[in-house]
């Protein structure tokens, strides 16, 4: 074994020990998923308030919100210039950037992170656009597994009805780039049908916990509270070691 390889091995072992030691004090990562109009944001806000009242430090992160990528995405969405691959890859960039700059640092310092949509949104939407799920998983890997995925389930018809009552969906949100339908609502109706199917497949693989989005808001909130109270951690060494290790290597965490 060369000196270089021995050093790398030693450094890997040190990082793994560091990750295992942090397991107890690290924060919980909770993801909220579901079709548009399912009430994720409302529930995330209610949960934030409840957790803060119990002296938890809470950090919230939203889909496509990284300060670095958001402007690039926004302008391209506005002029409708994105192909399916570009759309998917730019969301993967945004996600990776948020994982590295806000989600992992917050978890490492013991804060609870509430993700208003997580990578499953990208997987469901892009798979509904016709991209290969295997390639999508590659683009989003190494995956930082959430400890709990709360899925607000509703039928495509209900999602369409709720969206129709509030606003017209945007071009990409309505899937007009793939359906080719001029009417945003009609396009959304067709697109969300595929998205919900993809969500249903993902919910089995990634063990989502379902909450009926048709229930009263307070009932959903009570259920979410119960789920969070009962939630255990998905151990980093077993589930997310690669993602955390990579972040640690580039970070300025003492000991890394």
């Amino acid at each position: 074994m060369t000196i270089y390889m021995a050093r790398r091995l030693a450094s890997k072992r040190r990082l793994r020990r560091l990750i295992a030691e942090r397991e107890e004090s690290r924060g919980l990562l909770i993801a909220f998923e579901g079709p548009d109009g399912s009430g994720k944001t409302t529930q995330r806000k209610l949960l934030t308030r409840w957790l803060e009242s119990r002296n938890h430090d809470v950090v919230s992160t939203r889909w496509a919100s990284s300060a670095m990528v958001k402007p690039l995405l926004k302008v391209r969405k506005k002029i409708r210039s994105l192909s399916i691959e570009e759309y998917s890859l730019l969301h993967a960039v945004d996600f990776r950037h948020r994982v590295e700059t806000s989600i992992l640092p917050a978890l490492w310092s013991g804060k609870t992170v509430l993700a208003d949509r997580y990578l499953f949104t990208g997987l469901a939407r892009d798979a509904a656009r016709g991209l290969d799920l295997d390639w999508l998983l590659h683009a989003y890997s190494p995956i930082l597994w959430p400890d709990l995925v709360v899925y607000f389930s509703m039928t495509p018809e209900d999602s369409r009805r709720r969206i129709a009552s509030t606003r017209a969906p945007h071009f990409y949100e309505a899937g007009q780039d793939v359906t080719g339908i001029d009417d945003p609502l009609a396009s959304y109706g067709r697109f969300i049908d595929r998205v919900v199917k993809e969500y249903d497949n993902l919910s089995v693989v990634f063990e989502f916990v379902s909450v009926d989005a048709g229930d009263a808001v307070y009932r959903q909130h009570t259920r979410v509270r119960e789920l969070v109270e009962r939630a255990g951690k998905r151990p980093w060494p077993a589930f997310s070691e690669e993602a955390v290790e990579e972040w640690l290597t580039k970070s300025n965490i003492p000991g890394a």
Binding site: L89, T249, N252
Partner: protein
């Protein structure tokens, strides 16, 4: 997801560790092809403007990892393929992609990313018909920190700003070694001789494709399938 379409056009990939060399080699190949009567298009790095806009947009936020940069490269490549590469290939023309897949794979692998991850990420890119390597001359220096020269220089600048563990000459040597590992019979070293060879090979491929249907009609001798389709003399 992988692009397995057989295009009538030809794709020449030019890779290298220094943006300036890659651009110069692409220009030299284009000139050699034009002299030989073959018109061609050149697709360069950051045609989508993502990297430039990122430099302008990145104010307080200084963190960028090599994985994020690789994903941005993939997005830029998807843009180049859609607007610059595939239209030319579909119309039967010649397009030079400088840089292409090997540059980002070699750079990422030399910075610690899994090579297989990079190849899987970029599997939507069609295979190049011919490949050239822009030769590295200043291997014993770290990259110049410039955001307008090329992918490697851009990454060096961004990573130096993001973390104290920036890129050194060790990384550069590793990238050159990774590029060297991809060398094969069909890869041309883009020296003056190599550029001429690649242009000749490109013209030969064009000639073969143009003549193939006529030959079969006239009952002329066709090249055997076992003979390697390379322009090397």
């Amino acid at each position: 997801m992988a692009d397995q379409v057989k295009y009538p056009g030809r794709l020449i990939a030019v890779d290298g560790s220094r943006g300036k060399d890659v651009n110069a080699a692409a220009g030299a190949i284009a000139a050699a092809l034009t002299r030989g009567g073959v018109a061609c298009a050149v697709s360069r790095w950051d045609a989508s403007g993502l990297f430039t806009e990122l430099t302008a947009a990145r104010r307080g936020d200084r963190h960028l990892s090599i994985r994020t940069l690789s994903l941005i490269y993939a997005a830029d490549l998807a843009f180049r393929l859609r607007w610059e590469v595939r239209p030319v290939l579909e119309s039967g023309g010649v397009v030079i992609a400088a840089p292409y897949v090997e540059t980002v794979v070699a750079f990422g692998a030399s910075s610690g990313l899994d090579e297989d991850w990079l190849r899987q990420l970029l599997r939507f890119a069609p295979r190049a018909d011919l490949r050239g390597l822009a030769l590295e001359r200043k291997i014993d220096r770290p990259w110049k920190q410039r955001t307008d020269r090329g992918y490697a220089e851009y990454c060096a600048t961004m990573l130096a700003a993001s973390s104290p563990k920036g890129l050194s000459k060790k990384h550069r040597r590793a990238m050159v070694a990774a590029l060297d590992r991809t060398r094969g019979r069909k890869i041309f070293d883009l020296t003056d001789k190599g550029v001429a060879g690649l242009a000749r090979a490109c013209r030969a491929v064009a000639e073969t494709r143009r003549r193939a249907p006529t030959d079969s009609l006239e009952g002329g001798s066709r090249r055997s399938a076992s003979r390697p389709r390379t322009g090397r003399r």
